[in-house]
Symmetry: D2
């Protein structure tokens, strides 16, 4: 009887029917021209979603973590210096990866719940007269805390410092759901996966490299083979891969690209914001706080919700799964037990979101929290009904 | 973006994943032993769900309406007399079919919202000393009004009158969701389809014939070929069909039979009752009435909800589809515009039901009804959280 | 390990991937405008495939047999006279259906292996001065014998006799695979199903009614409800059905219509002819005869192959299934045990056909027939390689 | 119209229906106990297929190439010495990966078409008194040449030399299709993927580590994060992953494990050998040679077939794709243009193999090679019909 309820984890998302079908494909020869008809449009589609005219897009049978590794190992050398803020579990893990690859990381410790402090970046970069820092990491959307950072500000920090470091952005839980501007923000490597804004099953690391990042690949000496973008580029030029690609998922990838571009990216972002606003309205009605410190950093793809002191937020997630068959996200790292997360990205509708809100309410009441059943739902309903604009035309799609 | 919200029509239901897959099947030779391995277990499974040791089960590529025609044309002759109550659109249509096939129907007009008046049946049958009435029709669950009738009482009426008429029961929207006792109630022909309690796509008429009904097929002279149960029985004896069967759907049919019997029929009925009770709790909180006149006739598969006078209930259905992408059922026939219907059968969960209730609330408020947002939801939440017993074990299934 | 080999039964055919997917659909509200977007294009597509500007197309959750019943019960009355040739199992069954519905059939017994004797039809129709014959049946392609009849000649017979009888054509195994001209041939009712030329799973009866046939529905008094075209037409006018339609299959039906019309009907017919010619070349190489008496009646969708006297042709079919996991068709009725059938319709390729030919060869040698392994294959290969014209463009589709 | 013909590339294979379905799965929470029910049986199943009681199995969202990298980066350090034979494109690529990761490779150049010269390995290992060689690479089945190597002999070489080096085996195109004995052969790391013997879509690297290899992971200092087996092991202990796993493919992986173990591994190997023998019989009948130098190295999963001098073997592959819609494999590296490859692994049947053989014949004749149509087919037919033992029971599965 499972599979009937939506999932509310911050990715993998609920998979739309047409994406399920496009990804579930019989075997074709991945060394034939047929494969080129899948590969090239998928890369083009991603490029448009990145809002880039210059990015070279690479797609690995991997995950977002593999995308991080692609960014690092193709452009950097052992001992290189990195600048990064740690403000959640995913920025933490990327930093950890840097260290394990022998990179020296200047870590800007940032409260979990706040965004990247671009001013601190600017200070550090300005102080780095010798330009020892080769790359700046920025997690656009911290999935662990539901915090969005201002990438344009990070770019301004680099520019203000006149610093040539590469800008690597983790857009795993933002790209295709929230505004992302590869070219305008001067991003050098953008990293995402198939299972978030693209709404596909997990299994693809999707990365975009700027011309400057491509230049850096000629210098970087970290060992790499599986994630080597040159092998990949050489393959692409022949409609092929350096190894066996995940053809079905790549075929699938064409579908969300088409869907999202047809819908219009700005509408996609507005749609995500609307669903998120409803969830946040419910959180407010519950008298709870978001982990995200202020509205300017609220994520439109995931909300991490702080529960009262002396309450184990993870109990909500466990109970929701066991009693109601609904999946929420647990708190990770520093906020483990302190927050639970509601993922609201991808093809989630207001109607689906309401069932998640209603379930969270039931769990919280079941666990003795002082919550009035229906109150969060009512507040979200009020917001959703006021902001809904689905026309018969759209409903029919 | 559609297909993400559940449907709340009273059938076809939301189709569980495993049933989708079992029904979507490559071509096999339907004249091979392989087909027998699909056919016979499906018929056995249906028999168990009918709670019958004696029924002969026939499965036609058709719909419930085809099942009605199977019942009539195999057992009756032009001019035969029929007794039937009209208490909703579906009982009305079956009566209409009788008339179009040249049968004389004694119609017991019954208020839409009430169940079959077994006492009236008894009077009429008792008065029919010559036993001219050959068959009694009974719609177990009037899908149009959300009204369940007491089939055991109809059987008692026949017995009390000492009347030999056949008992034909339309169990389209009850079988496999609500208690149905073919043998115990002395049902002669039971009719259902694939798309309700069996949760499959529409496309199969499923009927059970008692030994007495099989006897009657030797006498009935109404013309029939496609729906002839003798041709069907002859085919079955050879692992075959008199024509091309809908193999995929029949393969699919094995899946819900297995699922429901594994769960236990009584648990299935309790599960349906629980989901229905939550919906009814919301209706009460809204201050609205069910079309069903009293609790003893409340259907556990569909609720028809009366809206205030001078309000067009169909507007709710239209708005839900257009604005929220959610499907409810409209009122039909006498209650068109007066009720809207929430289907809650099949694999619907409490979580899904809450999203339907929340959507109905939004629509009613949008349309100016005096409804407090969240109130119906809260009442249903309270009921659901009190009655939920999903264990991790079950959640994992 | 099954499902890997193609099937070679004369329908249901191997189902192309995109048709599997289009038919496997989540539940939508079949009373919503969404359904209209499936229904109307499907009906329009069928009409074009019938090569008709005037036909009214009806689609029933049923089978070809249901289509026959639709033709008869909507237009005729008990006691009406019918003219029909019996030249195979399927023409026989349609005649049987007429008789069971109280129609008087003038049967033109025709050797199994020959087409409809249009001259005999003309004699009988000319002799029927009182125009008691209300309908003429014609099986366009006798699936049991692999015999195509000349429907244009049947129309000429009617015209030459100046006879107003309706012309009903069973195009179950011809429509969408072989040339069919509803308007040009003056067909009044054409009958087919989803599982042959349309390459879908079984489950739909698809019929076209001419304006003249629609007129006749006002006169015909045979009882009908499930197959009533007036109820159907009334439903269609409201994007709906008189009962629950098989939505998934109807959605699926749009796909082959699109595919075949995009390919071009004449190309579709040439493609079928080419595959059939290869099979026939193999049969010739084996020194065997077709059941079809002469090239002008050779079917391009199925070949019934006569085996030597004192040999049970059914053994080939049984052995192919048991030893090689391949499905051929057995002989039916008069030719049971005398022929086995290779279906070669739908999306069958030359490559697939060769595997069927190779399998038949192995079976015949296994069973002691005097056949040289590889000879039929070689002859078919020679034909196929000479006639293949698949371009990279097409291969890529 | 594509997707109807089988593919004859040496992986990804044709995907059995049940594997397609098991891999195509709605989203579940990959941090829930539900995921553990997928993860652990999949790892256990792989272990059994490796014939190991001791291997620790790791599954990465990646490809076989990622499996190679897992083997190297987890156990070795920059500057470590490796011993490897180069006898085809895939052994070449693994060597190249070693070099790119700063490992010093002693390359035993071996004619493409021959297996690993275990005696040369023994000489070199014996000469390595200081045990500088840390790992020995062995490609069990060279997919490029269709050559199987004797891994037991490689183990004996290590043992005879008393050398402690780790034994890394590339079993990408052998495991689950040909006999593989992890424990008996003293394999330390075995590498495969989802898309060969496991018959799934590409997307998983599957590796087994011996206890000795796990020990080595404590010493190896090559940088690694994505492919780190410790992170993976830590995740597994909590039913989880260090990042988002490809849940659908892992669910799918349970299916071939179950199928193959139910069939019995020895039967699986015999089945592959039988299909391969038929293909080789055809090659012999064509008067062509295999790239594989002698019967003891013939691969049962892929045959690389040498074409006459001055003929471009790749033309066959191109023509097969363009004209017949059939995929064969091209020659790679040293044998590019000199061989074409027929993959015959996975769920391929004799009937499917015959269609591949027939297609290859047509292409060769089309391209002017002196081949008699049907001769290769006939020889394979003779072999297949003599060796087939499919019973009705099995056919029905």
């Amino acid at each position: 009887m499972s599979f009937q309820n939506p999932v509310f984890i911050p990715g993998p998302t609920n998979i739309p029917e047409s994406l399920r079908k496009a990804s579930d494909m019989p075997t074709i020869d991945h060394r034939s021209p047929l494969f080129g008809q899948i590969l090239h449009p998928a890369r083009e589609g991603v490029k448009k979603i990145l809002k880039s005219n210059t990015a070279e897009v690479f797609i690995f049978p991997s995950s977002g973590t593999g995308g991080w590794e692609t960014a690092l190992t193709n452009t950097l050398s052992a001992g290189d210096k990195i600048l990064a803020a740690r403000n959640g579990m995913f920025s933490h893990r990327w930093i950890d990866m840097c260290q394990r690859h022998g990179l020296g990381v200047t870590i800007v410790e940032t409260p979990w719940g706040e965004g990247i402090p671009a001013d601190r970046y600017e200070e550090i970069l300005t102080a780095d007269k010798g330009h020892e820092i080769k790359a700046v990491l920025a997690t656009h959307n911290e999935t662990a805390t539901g915090v969005k950072s201002d990438i344009a500000a990070v770019r301004r920090a680099l520019d203000a410092a006149g610093h040539p470091a590469l800008l690597f952005v983790d857009g795993v839980s933002s790209i295709a759901s929230m505004d992302f501007r590869f070219d305008e923000w001067g991003v050098d490597v953008a990293v995402t996966g198939s299972q978030k804004g693209f709404m596909l099953p997990a299994g693809l690391a999707i990365v975009g490299f700027s011309p400057k990042a491509m230049e850096a690949t000629k210098i970087g000496t970290l060992p790499r083979t599986f994630f080597d973008v040159h092998d990949m580029a050489k393959g692409y030029a022949n409609n092929a891969y350096p190894y066996t690609p995940a053809v079905g998922l790549m075929n699938g990838l064409n579908e969300p690209c088409k869907m999202l571009l047809d819908e219009g990216l700005e509408k996609v972002f507005v749609r995500h914001n609307r669903i998120a606003e409803g969830v946040r309205a419910a959180v407010g009605a519950w008298g709870l706080e978001l982990c995200a410190a202020s509205p300017d950093v609220y994520s439109d793809t995931v909300s991490a919700i702080r529960t009262p002191a002396h309450f184990n937020a993870t109990d909500i997630v466990t109970l929701a799964a066991e009693k109601y068959g609904v999946a929420f996200g647990v708190g990770l790292g520093e906020v483990a037990g302190k927050v639970f997360r509601i993922g609201h990205l991808g093809s989630m509708t207001d109607v689906m979101a309401l069932s998640g809100i209603a379930t969270a309410e039931m769990c919280m009441v079941d666990l003795g929290l002082d919550i009035t059943l229906g109150l969060g739902v009512a507040t979200a309903q009020e917001y959703y009904r006021g902001s809904a604009a689905m026309t018969q035309q759209e409903a029919a799609e």
